[in-house]
């Protein structure tokens, strides 16, 4: 199955043009109603259409498979895999916690390996197979690690949970779930601020054992 997203408003690429208008505002003339300082905004805070047409970011066409479904999308080259999932494909299960690779909430599997999707540019993923939390189970049947998280109460607020589970799947696949201590080390890229670590370790350990 394949979906074609409509071309986003930021494409196709156009020539960069230097800003031509100076919109420097003297502050003393501010405040009061929709008062425009110095009139430099032409009577509206909304930018003029010609300004909006000025400088666009380059974009690219990418075909990738997400949870078994093929997508061909035109993405702004600055778009991370995480933002592609969350803002364009309505797959909000992958979470943005820090957007800097420090918390692991955005963990997904790319070609079977766990990655921080916030640090992965979507344009790099032509031909890649991405699995997110939404695609982990088999239809209505939960993946054993998802069930173990419920059974062990390995989450509270639930925000880090999809990342923890995807990371746990990766951890087990990599063979890094041999002992509690090993799991603690290899799951330390995923922060749980609610403090469910002992239960996360239990869930991963049990799932690894059953495998």
């Amino acid at each position: 199955m394949s979906t074609e997203l409509p071309e986003s408003e930021s494409s196709p690429p156009t020539e960069e043009s230097a800003p031509t208008r100076r919109t420097f505002v003297a502050t003393t003339t501010a405040v009061g109603g929709v008062v425009i300082a110095g009139g430099v905004f032409g009577g509206s805070i909304l930018s003029k259409p010609e300004a909006a047409a000025a400088s666009a970011a380059p974009s690219s066409r990418v075909t990738l498979t997400v949870n078994g479904r093929k997508h061909t999308v035109t993405v702004d080259n600055r778009t991370s895999l995480l933002d592609l999932l969350r803002e364009h494909l309505d797959l909000t299960g992958s979470k943005k916690g820090c957007n800097a690779g420090a918390c692991g909430a955005c963990t997904v599997l790319v070609d079977g390996r766990r990655v921080n999707s916030c640090l992965t540019l979507a344009v790099r993923l032509d031909g890649a197979e991405v699995t997110t939390i939404e695609g982990l189970g088999d239809g209505d049947r939960l993946h054993p690690l998802q069930q173990a998280f419920i059974d062990e109460d390995a989450f509270q607020c639930g925000y880090c949970t999809p990342g923890q589970i995807m990371s746990g799947v990766g951890c087990i696949e990599e063979g890094h779930a041999g002992s509690k201590d090993e799991i603690r080390e290899w799951m330390s890229g995923n922060i749980c601020r609610c403090g469910c670590y002992p239960k996360i370790v239990r869930a991963v350990e049990q799932t690894a054992r059953r495998k």
Binding site: R86, L142, G158, Y159
Partner: protein
């Protein structure tokens, strides 16, 4: 009224929303699908104090997709009416884009709205702001304190003079940030003069009132929706400026706007647990009986609001002390306003008091538990009120036995395993039991299922699950047939989801509403000639599994479905309510714990590893044991962070927070956390509230940091009087 069988309450159930959370289907603030949404990114002040002298938005506006750049030079003037029904501290709240003043580093100075997130982010980086910068004052020790809040009983100075043992100790606690995993976020949408926001908040009602006063709208014109909250720990207890920015941006752009704070922005766009300096002078006799305690504490607040918290309570009531004085000062600085963070007040005070008691125990050669037992008060000496329930002695006894406290060496630095020095410590924890008015709507449908609606939140403790348990038992239904709906300002009002009062307050309202509906059904049955229960005394009817029956005769009865359909009733409903704490309390109500920790400290490197933590809790009735255990673990992990890792660092030259990210502001990760154990004493507190609960979320954090600090002393013989205890303090 016959007591209902308790099948769900007290059972170790899994979360009713577990499936949604493990499949990624639970929608948090920024994840709601809103047609035509555009993106807003805030531009933060890059100075710590001063005035904006100019803003150049040309480069930003030249970016394709940019719809608007809003700042004080062009923003609509906002009414900002007073908001008395809020958690806003005394002072004048920050008014976004209403003047040219910069009050702290990171204050919002502009917002860019664009059709894509990438364009908004990039354009925000292109907004050039000119400032007339002044030197900010951000150092606690150099600020000018406000007038103190004072308290005294007895004569502290005389008490100290006659004491055999005197300690004069000053402790410092770093600023901590909540750092919930979900960033604060808002989606705002206007429909004419009606505003809907999907917001990360611990109080939809509070955000609703704040937005209605800021924009001067009727309360009913503002709807706030927040079904799932990705952690809070207090950071969502008030409506912050960025939520106003989102609503303002949506109004200007005439489009729904999504605004998600970056991780960095959480450090100055929302509050924090303030930095403290806390001096404690303490006097006791040779046996360790406390004679006097003098507390002087000060913490930072902003220049525009005076934040305070309940830091005085433990010093007044935890130990029997005839002479107590307290002086509590806030220090206005060029920082944003703090907010309550898990265990607010007691988590700070207990670190100081419990560390000092450990010092006293060591000085006079008495076991720390024995010292606490000797100072156990018979009543609350600050109010003269009797305790509702206080089972701290039992917490000590159970904890000592379970933890193996007898294996602790009283002599510090006497247990070693290779490079590691091993030590054990303990501390007591306390948090007052607050209750506030709440309401919940209960509807029982003719198909035998029920829906409960209440504006409360679930930031992680499991409100959905535990309230379902309460409702199921009160209605006589199975958990599966009850649906809880939370986090919508259209639902009946609730207090803030904080201060450990959700179960006591909202739970009591849910209980009341369900009891009323059950009574309606019973009345219907016993007055209905066609019912097998016709003529039975109402007090002799119980409901179980959706079936009403005579007590002691389960065969005589019928289901809700049959009863309602025969009577042509589509549903029964009721608005449950709870009036909150009485205006005059007749008891002193608190939850307690004894927390035990074992640490290993690398003798050469000063590295501290927590090896075990045990918490024993007197928290009243436990509604949901499985979730309560998770809460306790969360408190312990939070305490490990407070004790050893968490420290917001400010560059005092310009007021900038230098570690505003999760790589440099350290929070516990999996490898930092050992096996943890939580024990809840069986029981209930009948004075507290109809459910007999005393609250959990705060007390589980209180006492953890001092237990660890005391264990570090026991391991090393080094007394570090500041948090966090980092390696450099130990080498």
């Amino acid at each position: 009224m016959s007591p209902q069988p308790q099948a769900a309450v007290g059972a170790p159930l899994s979360r009713v929303d577990g499936r949604l959370k493990v499949t990624g289907k639970a929608r948090y603030a920024a994840e709601h699908e809103v047609n035509g949404v555009v993106y807003a990114v805030i531009v933060d002040a890059s100075i710590g104090r001063g005035r904006i002298t100019g803003i150049d938005t040309s480069a930003a506006e030249a970016q394709r997709g940019v719809l608007s750049v809003i700042h004080h030079g062009n923003a609509p003037k906002l009414p900002y009416k007073d908001n008395k029904a809020s958690n806003n501290p005394p002072g004048a709240r920050l008014r976004v884009f209403q003047d040219d003043k910069v009050r702290f580093h990171g204050q919002p100075v502009a917002v860019v709205v664009a059709t894509s997130l990438e364009a908004a982010q990039h354009a925000a980086s292109l907004v050039k702001v000119r400032y007339d910068a002044e030197q900010p004052s951000t150092e606690l020790s150099k600020g000018k304190p406000d007038k103190p809040t004072s308290y005294a009983r007895g004569d502290v100075e005389a008490g100290l003079r006659k004491a055999d043992v005197r300690l004069d100790l000053t402790y410092r606690l770093a600023r901590n940030h909540h750092n919930a995993m979900e960033p604060h976020a808002t989606i705002a949408r206007w429909n004419g003069n009606k505003l809907t926001v999907w917001d990360k908040t611990q109080w939809v009602v509070g955000t609703q009132t704040e937005l209605s006063t800021v924009f001067d709208l009727p309360l009913k014109s503002v709807r706030v929706i927040s079904p799932f909250v990705g952690g809070g720990f207090g950071s969502g207890l008030r409506c912050w400026p960025h939520t106003v920015v989102a609503a303002l941006a949506a109004r200007v752009a005439k489009r729904p706007v999504k605004l998600v704070l970056s991780r960095k922005q959480q450090y100055f766009a929302t509050g924090f647990r303030p930095e403290y300096e806390y001096r404690l002078r303490l006097g006791s006799n040779r046996q360790g009986r406390l004679i006097a305690m003098a507390h002087e504490m000060e913490h930072e607040t902003s220049s525009y609001e005076t934040f305070s918290e309940g830091v005085l309570d433990p010093g007044r009531m935890l130990y029997s002390t005839p002479n107590v004085s307290q002086a509590y000062r806030t220090v206005p600085l060029d920082v944003n306003t703090p907010i309550w963070m898990r265990g607010p007040g007691p988590a700070t005070a207990s670190y100081v008091i419990e560390s000092a008691l450990d010092e006293l125990a060591d000085r006079i050669g008495v076991d720390p538990i024995e010292l606490r037992q000797r100072n156990e008060p018979d009543e609350d000496e600050s109010s003269g009120l009797p305790w509702s329930t206080r089972r701290l002695r039992e917490c000590y006894t159970v904890g000592a036995r379970e933890f193996g406290w007898d294996r602790r060496s009283a002599k510090p630095r006497s247990r070693r395993e290779g490079d590691w020095l091993i030590g054990m410590g303990m501390a007591a924890g306390v948090y007052h039991t607050a209750r506030m008015p709440a309401e919940a709507h209960v509807r029982l449908d003719a198909d035998g299922t029920a829906v409960v609606e209440t504006a409360a939140s679930d930031m992680g403790p499991g409100t959905y699950t535990s309230q379902t348990q309460v409702a199921a038992d009160a209605l006589g239904l199975t958990v599966r047939t009850v649906t809880l709906k939370l986090g919508d300002s259209l639902f009946p009002q609730t207090p803030p989801h904080g201060g450990s009062m959700t179960m006591a307050s909202v739970g009591s309202a849910v209980l009341d509403g369900c009891n009323q509906v059950r009574r309606q059904a019973i009345k219907l049955a016993i007055e209905d000639k066609e019912s097998p229960l016709y003529g039975v005394n109402a007090d002799d009817v119980v409901v179980r599994g959706g079936r009403l029956h005579a007590k002691g005769n389960p065969t005589r009865g019928e289901t809700y479905q049959r009863l309602l359909s025969r009577n042509d009733r589509t549903h029964l409903e009721s608005l449950g309510s709870y009036s909150g704490a009485p205006s005059t309390e007749r008891h002193s109500l608190h939850a307690y714990n004894a927390t035990f920790a074992e640490v290993a400290v690398d003798a050469a490197l000063g590295l501290v590893r927590v090896r075990r933590v045990l918490g024993v809790y007197d928290a009243g009735r436990i509604i949901s044991p499985k979730l309560a255990e998770s809460q306790a673990f969360g408190g312990m992990v939070g305490g490990i962070g407070q004790a050893l890792l968490e420290h917001t660092v400010t560059d005092h030259r310009d007021g900038r927070i230098v570690n505003a990210n999760l790589a440099d502001y350290l929070v516990p990760v999996n490898a930092d956390v050992p096996d943890l154990k939580a024990i809840y004493l069986d029981g209930e507190d009948r004075e507290a509230d109809p459910l007999g609960v005393k609250g959990l979320g705060e007390v589980v954090m209180v006492g953890v940091a001092p237990a660890i600090a005391n264990a570090v002393f026991n391991a090393t013989g080094r007394r570090v009087r500041q948090l966090p205890i980092t390696a450099e303090a130990l080498i």
